[in-house]
């Protein structure tokens, strides 16, 4: 008995896929067609060659040499490095803080556990943008004037200019450059601007609340028998945590924590609102100066997708390596 064409499952699945492909094709033709027509009508050209042209704008904080004459792609590179700088430092701080809070939340001391749990409850339920602005405005109000910086430790200053400290000097003759007071504040050495500090503190505290929950859940997921066996061997609580529980919990903790790291990196894009020149901020300035909205946003998406893919890839490798090799 021959089945009629649509009843044959293979033909049917093929037809569905052709239908979807057709639908997507029509949509793509519609959107791309409109885009080219609109761009042509407005006299805007499309292309990535503008990237080698001079940027024309300065970037306040930069890790590599850059000035207004440098090309757009160098500006993007500066932005990416700024993103990575706040992301890496933020991840380290968030993990450390999250670990401490998680262990505190599991403590038998009700005061400590209560405080840690409140920390998590409060920070997780307030939007990050609100927290960032709060830290930024707080720092702007509380920090001393740039002409009267406060010296925390010898040669480590904090003021409205930011956190300034001695740093390696590229010029020959002097190894370390110390901040010196000038008419407008300290010059020399390295500076972490108040924008960076606000972003760093905000991201680190916010993400630490999530990481604390993940670590706590991971620790609780380790079978109670392990803790009991270790206790019966005479190990103290912190030793049990460090030698028995955490290594086993790690397998459960790492994937969601990696997700949080990725979230932190994506959340650093909020810096555009407080003025820290990371890659989104550079992209919007480029968008304005050159008028190339589509190209600039596509580069931005490409940068973040690369971060995501690298992180996913590393996480898959880790998961594969630590998967329980069951019999």
């Amino acid at each position: 008995m021959r089945l009629s064409l649509p009843s044959n499952p293979r033909i049917r699945s093929l037809l569905w896929q052709i239908l979807l492909a057709g639908l997507l094709g029509v949509m793509a033709w519609f959107f791309v067609g409109n885009l080219t027509e609109n761009l042509a009508k407005r006299g805007i050209s499309f292309g990535y060659d503008f990237l080698s042209g001079p940027a024309g704008f300065d970037i306040g904080e930069r890790a590599i040499a850059y000035d207004a004459d440098s090309s757009y792609w160098l500006a993007f590179l500066v932005g990416i490095l700024n993103t990575l700088r706040v992301a890496v430092l933020g991840i380290v701080a968030a993990t450390a803080l999250g670990l401490v809070i998680a262990i505190g939340a599991l403590s038998r001391n009700p005061l400590l556990a209560g405080l840690c749990r409140s920390y998590v409850e409060v920070l997780r339920n307030i939007p990050l943008l609100v927290q960032l602005f709060f830290w930024y405005l707080l720092l702007a109000t509380v920090l001393p004037n740039s002409q009267q910086p406060f010296e925390i430790l010898p040669h480590l200053f904090i003021s409205k200019n930011g956190f300034q400290f001695p740093w390696l000097s590229p010029e020959a003759g002097v190894l370390l450059e110390y901040p010196e007071l000038g008419t407008f504040g300290l010059t020399g050495g390295a500076t972490l601007s108040p924008e960076f500090l606000a972003l760093f503190i905000g991201l680190a505290t916010y993400t630490s609340a999530f990481i604390a929950e993940v670590i706590r859940a991971g620790i609780l997921a380790v079978p109670k028998g392990q803790t009991e066996a270790a206790a019966s061997l005479g190990l103290r609580r912190l030793q049990i945590l460090k030698l028995v529980v955490l290594p086993q919990a790690l397998r459960v903790i790492i994937p969601p924590t990696t997700n949080q790291y990725l979230n932190l990196t994506k959340n650093s894009s909020l810096a555009v609102a407080i003025g820290y020149p990371e890659v989104v901020s550079v992209a919007t300035t480029t968008l304005n100066q050159s008028g190339r909205a589509v190209e600039a946003i596509s580069i931005l998406m490409l940068v973040y997708l690369t971060f995501s893919l690298i992180t996913s890839f590393l996480m898959h490798r880790f998961e594969a390596a630590t998967r329980l090799k069951e019999r």
């Binding site: 885009l35 009700p110 409060v122 602005f133 707080l138 919007t284 909205a293 931005l300």
Partner: protein, 349 residues
């Protein structure tokens, strides 16, 4: 002796380290209360008196800022004569959400009518029919706009999320690739880029002449973003349904759609709802990002209120107020989700 009912002596003061921690924490709490309470309550100015606030600066909080600016913060720049409309609309939307949250009312009829009520509230705020004056969408703002964006963004994205999840778990390779690609693309970029795309680029992709409203574009971007995250949660739920169920259904001769709608999705639902609520909470918080494309929802309205140079020094009070509002909504949802998780866990055993 029951291990969990240790006396406070044994939990707070056993051992040197523990005692040290307890004592230092108690000392910090006392110091904090000693400084904070006078500022927040005893010396605070509760009326919108700028002179009194300035005089109390540093020693007392200026809650008068709230009294002066609460209309802007809660309703945005909505024309004051029609203020009943966002109030009624917000109450209707919240009531619809409360109805949808009660498990005993999870029937298609009730869920659809709740969705209808939400659509009605949106229409009420925007107006333009039945004698209601049409309000330009840039006048919408404050808490009313946050609720609108969060509720509409979360609920309208569910059908798309289910479709994407089914697509990603499908056997048809092309569909699977397209859905996975879309989900990974949207999850890999920050919400800001999606909002920028909606705000700057989307009009270029439409025929010249078509010009959808900013609110529509931003809500569309929010829906796409939230659908991708919800799709992953739903996919986890779909994967949790034992394969045996599907095989049994296939043995009975059920078609793909019948299997999905009658067997897989209802069982996936129980697993899926708590993390779905978590994703709702995330989108609720993310509505604060639309200030970057110049829409003044709750946080944006606060910044607008603080742009007034006379009231700007009292920003801490404003931030505490807005943070409290967010905290109330988000922790209520979070508590609800934890309650659901407990109920489902009990039921599974």
């Amino acid at each position: 002796m029951n291990e969990t009912s240790l006396s406070w002596r044994q939990t707070l003061f056993n051992g040197k380290v523990n005692t040290l921690i307890t004592v230092s924490l108690l000392a910090s709490l006392v110091w904090f209360a000693w400084n904070f309470l006078p500022w927040a309550v005893f010396n605070a100015v509760f009326t919108a008196d700028l002179e009194a606030c300035r005089a109390a600066r540093g020693s007392g909080a200026c809650w008068g800022l709230i009294e002066e600016k609460w209309k802007l913060i809660v309703f945005g720049r909505y024309p004051f004569e029609e203020i009943w409309r966002p109030i009624v609309a917000s109450i209707m939307m919240l009531a619809a959400c409360l109805v949808m949250s009660q498990r005993q009312w999870w029937t298609p009829l009730i869920l659809f009518s709740a969705a209808g009520v939400i659509a009605l509230s949106v229409a009420l705020m925007i107006g333009g029919f039945a004698g209601l004056s049409s309000i330009p969408t840039e006048r919408l703002g404050g808490l009313a706009l946050t609720l609108l964006l969060a509720i509409v963004g979360n609920i309208l994205s569910l059908p798309l999320a289910v479709a994407l999840a089914l697509g990603r778990t499908s056997n048809l390779p092309f569909i699977r690739v397209v859905c996975s690609g879309f989900i990974e693309l949207v999850r890999g970029v920050p919400l800001i880029t999606v909002l920028f795309m909606a705000s700057f680029m989307f009009p270029l992709f439409l025929p010249s002449g078509m010009n959808p409203d900013v609110l529509l574009r931003v809500t569309g971007g929010l829906i796409l973003f939230s659908a991708a995250y919800q799709a992953e949660v739903i996919r986890g739920g779909i994967n949790s349904v034992p394969r045996g169920q599907i095989e049994a259904a296939q043995a009975l001769g059920m078609s793909y759609w019948l299997i999905q709608t009658k067997i897989v999705l209802p069982q996936a639902f129980r697993v899926v709802v708590p993390p779905l609520v978590n994703s709702f909470i995330a989108i609720f918080k993310d509505t604060s990002l639309v200030t970057i494309v110049s829409m003044f929802e709750l946080f944006g309205s606060l910044r607008l209120a603080l742009a007034d140079p006379q009231w700007r020094p009292f920003f801490i009070e404003g931030f505490i107020f807005v943070a409290l509002i967010y905290w109330v909504f988000c922790s209520a949802m979070s508590r609800y989700s934890r309650g659901l998780e407990r109920d489902f866990a009990v039921a599974r055993r």
